[in-house]
C-alpha cells in the first residue's frame, strides 16, 4: 500500500486536533487535542521513516513521545493549580491579564 495514505490521515488528524484546540473550552479537552496533534505528527514521522528507508524518523517520533509525556505532566499540574485557585477548568476564565 502506498504510505502516502498515512500522511493524509496524519494531516486530517492534525487539523481535527487544531479545531479542538480552538473550539473547546475545557482546558483538559484542549490539552487532549494538543496530544492528538502531536500523535498526528508522530504518524507522519514514522511514515517518512518507512518512505526513506531510514530509522531516524522513528527515533524522532520516540523523542517526541518523551517530550509529550513531560508536557502532559507539567501542563496537567498547571491546570490543577489553576483549578485550585479559580475553581474552574475553563480556558475562558483564566483571563486576568486582559482586565
Amino acid at each position: 500500500m502506498n504510505p502516502t495514505n498515512y500522511l493524509y490521515l496524519s494531516a486530517l488528524l492534525f487539523s481535527i486536533g487544531a479545531v479542538g484546540v480552538i473550539v473547546r473550552r475545557n482546558a483538559i479537552v484542549v490539552f487532549m487535542c494538543i496530544e492528538l496533534m502531536l500523535n498526528a505528527a508522530n504518524l507522519a514521522f514514522v511514515t517518512f521513516a518507512k518512505m526513506n528507508g531510514n530509522l531516524e524518523g522513528q527515533v524522532i517520533a520516540f523523542f517526541t513521545m518523551v517530550v509529550a509525556a513531560c508536557e502532559v505532566v507539567v501542563g496537567l499540574a498547571i491546570i490543577v493549580s489553576i483549578y485550585r485557585s479559580r475553581r474552574s477548568a475553563s480556558v475562558d476564565d483564566a483571563s486576568l491579564l486582559s482586565r
Binding site: 500500500m1 504510505p3 502516502t4 495514505n5 498515512y6 493524509y8 490521515l9 494531516a11 486530517l12 488528524l13 492534525f14 487539523s15 481535527i16 487544531a18 479545531v19 479542538g20 480552538i22 473550539v23 473550552r25 475545557n26 482546558a27 483538559i28 487532549m32 487535542c33 496530544e35 492528538l36 508522530n42 504518524l43 514514522v46 511514515t47 521513516a49 518507512k50 518512505m51 526513506n52 528507508g53 530509522l55 522513528q58 527515533v59 517520533a61 520516540f62 523523542f63 513521545m65 518523551v66 509529550a68 509525556a69 513531560c70 508536557e71 502532559v72 505532566v73 507539567v74 496537567l76 499540574a77 490543577v80 493549580s81 483549578y83 485550585r84 477548568a89 475553563s90 480556558v91 475562558d92
Partner: protein
C-alpha cells in the same frame, strides 16, 4: 489486497470518526476514551509500518501513562461549566472549522504533489538486525546527546509538576492534639463530644438519608451528613416524625 490495506481502510475511518467525536461529545471523560481509541489505532499503524518498538511504546506511554494521567486529573477537577459546547466567542466555531479545512486541503495537496511517482523504500534493510537493535544503535549512537538532554528534561518536568501541584498547609490547620482535644471537650462542641447521632436511630428505616428520631419523636438534623443535606437527598423529615402517633406514656396510663 494485502492485510495492511484491509486494516488501514478498516481502522483509518474509525480513527477519524473517533477524533471528530472527541470534539463533539460533551463530557471530557468521553473525549478521553475516544482519544485512547485513536492512540491505540495509531499504535496499530506504527506496527504495520515496521515500527513495532514505537507501537508498543505508544500503547505503554500514551494509552497507559498519559491517558491514565488525564483521567486522574479529570476525576480530581471534576465536571464544571467548561464542559458545555456553547461557543463563547461568536463565530469562532465557523472560523475554526474553515481554517482547519483550508489547512487540511493545503497539506493534502502538498502531500499529493510531493510524492508523485516515487516508490517508498521500505525498512527491510534498516530493520535487518531487528527494529529494536537498529533503533538502539541510533539512540545510543548518533542521538546520544539528545537522549541525555531528554533525560534531564524528564527530571525537570517531574520536579516542575511537584512544585506546581504542591500546596503548603496553612498554620491554623496544624494544631496539636492537646489543643484540639481541649477545644472539643471545653468548647461549644461538648454536646456532640461523644459523636453525632447515627442516621435512622429509632426511625422506621435505618438508611443514611433518614434522620434519627430524638426521644420526643422529632427528627434530628445532626444525624444526616451535610453533603446529603446540600444535595437535597434527605428524606422528608416529617414523614418519619412520631408526633402524630399516640404517645407510649398515654397508653400505659390508660391501662
Amino acid at each position: 489486497m494485502s492485510g495492511e490495506v484491509i486494516v488501514f481502510w478498516a481502522l483509518a475511518p474509525l480513527t477519524v470518526f473517533a477524533a471528530i467525536g472527541m470534539l463533539l461529545v460533551k463530557k471530557a471523560v468521553h473525549s478521553a476514551i475516544l482519544l485512547a481509541f485513536v492512540m491505540i489505532a495509531l499504535a496499530v499503524f506504527y506496527i504495520m509500518q515496521e515500527a513495532p518498538f514505537l507501537g508498543v511504546v505508544q500503547i505503554v506511554v500514551y494509552t497507559g501513562a498519559v491517558m491514565m494521567l488525564f483521567l486522574f486529573i479529570l476525576m480530581l477537577v471534576g465536571v464544571d461549566s467548561s464542559d458545555s459546547l456553547v461557543e463563547s466567542i461568536k463565530g469562532l466555531r465557523g472560523v475554526a472549522i474553515f481554517t482547519a479545512l483550508a489547512f487540511a486541503a493545503a497539506l493534502t495537496s502538498l502531500i499529493a504533489r510531493a510524492r508523485t511517482g516515487r516508490d517508498p523504500v521500505g525498512l527491510e534493510l534498516a530493520n535487518a538486525e531487528g527494529n529494536v537493535q537498529a533503533l538502539a544503535a541510533l539512540i545510543f549512537g548518533d542521538f546520544v546527546w539528545a537522549f541525555e538532554v531528554i533525560s534531564a528534561l524528564l527530571i525537570t518536568a517531574a520536579l516542575g509538576a511537584m512544585v506546581l501541584a504542591h500546596t503548603q498547609k496553612s498554620p491554623e490547620a496544624r494544631q496539636s492534639q492537646r489543643v484540639r482535644s481541649i477545644a472539643r471537650f471545653r468548647g461549644e462542641s461538648i454536646g456532640t463530644a461523644a459523636g453525632l447521632p447515627g442516621s435512622g436511630v429509632f426511625a422506621r428505616h435505618n438508611a443514611v438519608d433518614v434522620p434519627a428520631l430524638l426521644p420526643d419523636g422529632k427528627p434530628s438534623d445532626l444525624s444526616i451528613s451535610n453533603v446529603l443535606a446540600q444535595r437535597g437527598d434527605v428524606q422528608e423529615t416529617k414523614t418519619y416524625s412520631l408526633e402524630g402517633l399516640p404517645k407510649l406514656d398515654d397508653e400505659e396510663g390508660s391501662k
